[in-house]
Amino acid sequence: MRQGFTCLLNNSMAEIKLLKGNEAIAHAAIRYGADGYFGYPITPQSEIMETLMDEQPWETTGMVVLQAESEVAAINMVYGGAACGKRVLTSSSSPGISLKQEGISYLAGTELPALIVNVMRGGPGLGTIQPSQADYFQAVKGGGHGDYRVITLAPASVQEMADYVALGFDLAFKYRNPAMILADGVIGQLMEKVELAPQKLRRTEAEIRKECPWAALGRPAGRQPNIHTSLELDSTVWEQYNIRFQAKYKAIEANEVRYEELYCDDAGYLIVAFGAAARISQKVVEIARKEGIKVGLFRPITLWPYPSKRLNSYKNKVKSILTVELNAGQMVEDVKLAVDCQIPVTYFGRMGGIIPTPQEVYNALKKIVNP
């Protein structure tokens, strides 16, 4: 059953299903040909591992699914799998993602590709199990120690939950860097129609050795040992590593920015929001347009690299920007930086697991339109 080429694949066609965002992650991972999932239960994302265990992909594609003893163990399992060139992922929610930060820093320091899913809940501390976007800073500014970046994708629909599994893996392997799907509890629990991609075959060991010559899969005679470590006592050497990491991050910033624009062409005002906040804001934009307010929605899809250049182009076109976030105002700082603080940027949001109504956001928009 190993390596997935002879097995019974009843997922060989694309398929349309009604799924929760969390379930979509699980199905998408199997269909992408992921090699392993390692996780620990935490609300509101436990359906990811539950779905995987229910699907039993080890019987079909050969994918390993393991419930670890902790989030710390799970991220270190991911680290081990990534070092072998395998496509491995873990998922958790905010407190569990905090526990994983050391491992994410190690992944960045050893330049290993892996996918981490955070279905955010309200913090700080144990917080609440209700949806939140309060881990924005942690995700995009480097939540662990050291100068590093994590490619951060923010889905706003169940379809994007599925699609960004593939995108996250692709980017992680392209740049040998950890990637994160930063979803919120709304997108994790929301049920929507989703088109799942056809089943991809898992790569054989020979294919992995070819695609990932750095993989620790055993050293054939004649090759130097593949050693994955982020330890270097000679600072002059380690600075060179850091310079290389930063150059890679610059390349990602240059090549991988993604965003969506709705009604932005003629907009006099802009709402900037991601994830569930963008879904609410889309409704607000539609209401406002009916009321004659020319407002557009700018939705960053990559939270890092942030679409700063594109946002900057609006500073001479719109009068003012409102950021809508399920937190105390985190992304608003990046929006202000993006427009060089040259136009007013206002934040509106709710905290602690409260989801604002479109009416509340509309009221906040009205305040910036008629100050």
């Binding site: 392993g36 710390v72 680290y79 055993g218 040992p225 994955h228």
Partner: protein, 252 residues
């Protein structure tokens, strides 16, 4: 002299997998000998191309510099979790961790117990010298009562620090472990015996029989502030009574 040094006259050689990098280990430290045994067993079993080692944080943090196999450097204490994934994703490979007492019995206690309890088909090489060597000789979970270290300068006080942790004994009742043994490398007889046990552990892992853990009661001459000879004697007189050598469990 030159006439004596011929390949046919050499009775002792460096294992093929040990390279020429100068080792950072202190004179009198047990790590070099344990490295030698690990390298010999891997080579003699023909596993050099199939083995992935998981290095710890601690004195053996640079183990990957000396054995010419593929290595993954784990975060402090997490080697058994890393090894779990490597082995499950590559069931045909030989996967082992190499860990010290601080790594395995303090910060990594959870990962150690759960990997053993799941019966991961890996070998855990556990080197116990009752001290944190790399960071300059602080108290470890296995430091003896009244033993002096940098963080218990007046001796380990049970009221303050608890008791020496016999973690190897804790692994015996776990259903997942198939071989639990305690060895040492202080003389030739012990080295020969230890090598046999290590080979058995590696065979268990390849045969899918569960987790094997081989503890090496070891010296830390620098941390104990002793000469190599003194350290060996002190180990025999003090550590062996607390950590008696022998097979604690052999289910195979």
């Amino acid at each position: 002299m030159e006439t004596i040094i011929k390949p046919e006259n050499i009775v002792y050689g460096k294992p093929r997998l040990i390279n020429n990098n100068p080792m950072h280990y202190c004179p009198g430290c047990s790590h070099g000998v344990v490295h030698n045994l690990v390298a010999s067993v891997i080579d003699e079993m023909g596993l050099a191309e199939k083995t992935i080692g998981i290095a710890p944080v601690g004195c053996a943090v640079f183990a990957y510099k000396y054995l010419d196999i593929d290595w993954i450097e784990a975060a402090h204490g997490r080697a058994p979790a890393v090894a779990t994934a490597v082995k499950r994703l590559n069931p045909d490979k030989m996967v082992f961790t190499y860990q010290g007492d601080g790594d395995l019995a303090a910060i990594g206690t959870g990962e150690t117990i759960h990997a053993c309890n799941r019966g991961e088909n890996i070998v855990i090489v556990y080197v116990n010298n009752a001290i944190y060597g790399m960071t300059g000789g602080q108290m470890s979970p296995t430091t003896l009562v009244d033993m002096k270290t940098a963080t218990c300068p007046y001796g380990r006080n049970v009221a303050l620090n608890g008791y020496p942790l016999k973690i190897t004994e804790l692994l015996v009742p776990l259903e997942g472990t198939c071989l639990v043994a305690r060895e040492a490398v202080h003389n030739v007889a012990a080295i020969k015996k230890a090598k046999k046990m290590l080979r058995k552990a590696f065979e268990n892992a390849m045969a899918g029989k569960g987790t094997s853990i081989i503890e090496f009661v070891a010296t830390c001459s620098a941390g104990w502030k002793m000469s190599a000879g003194q350290a060996n004697n002190w180990m025999v007189e003090n550590l062996f009574p607390a950590y008696p050598l022998g097979v604690l469990k052999d289910r195979v």
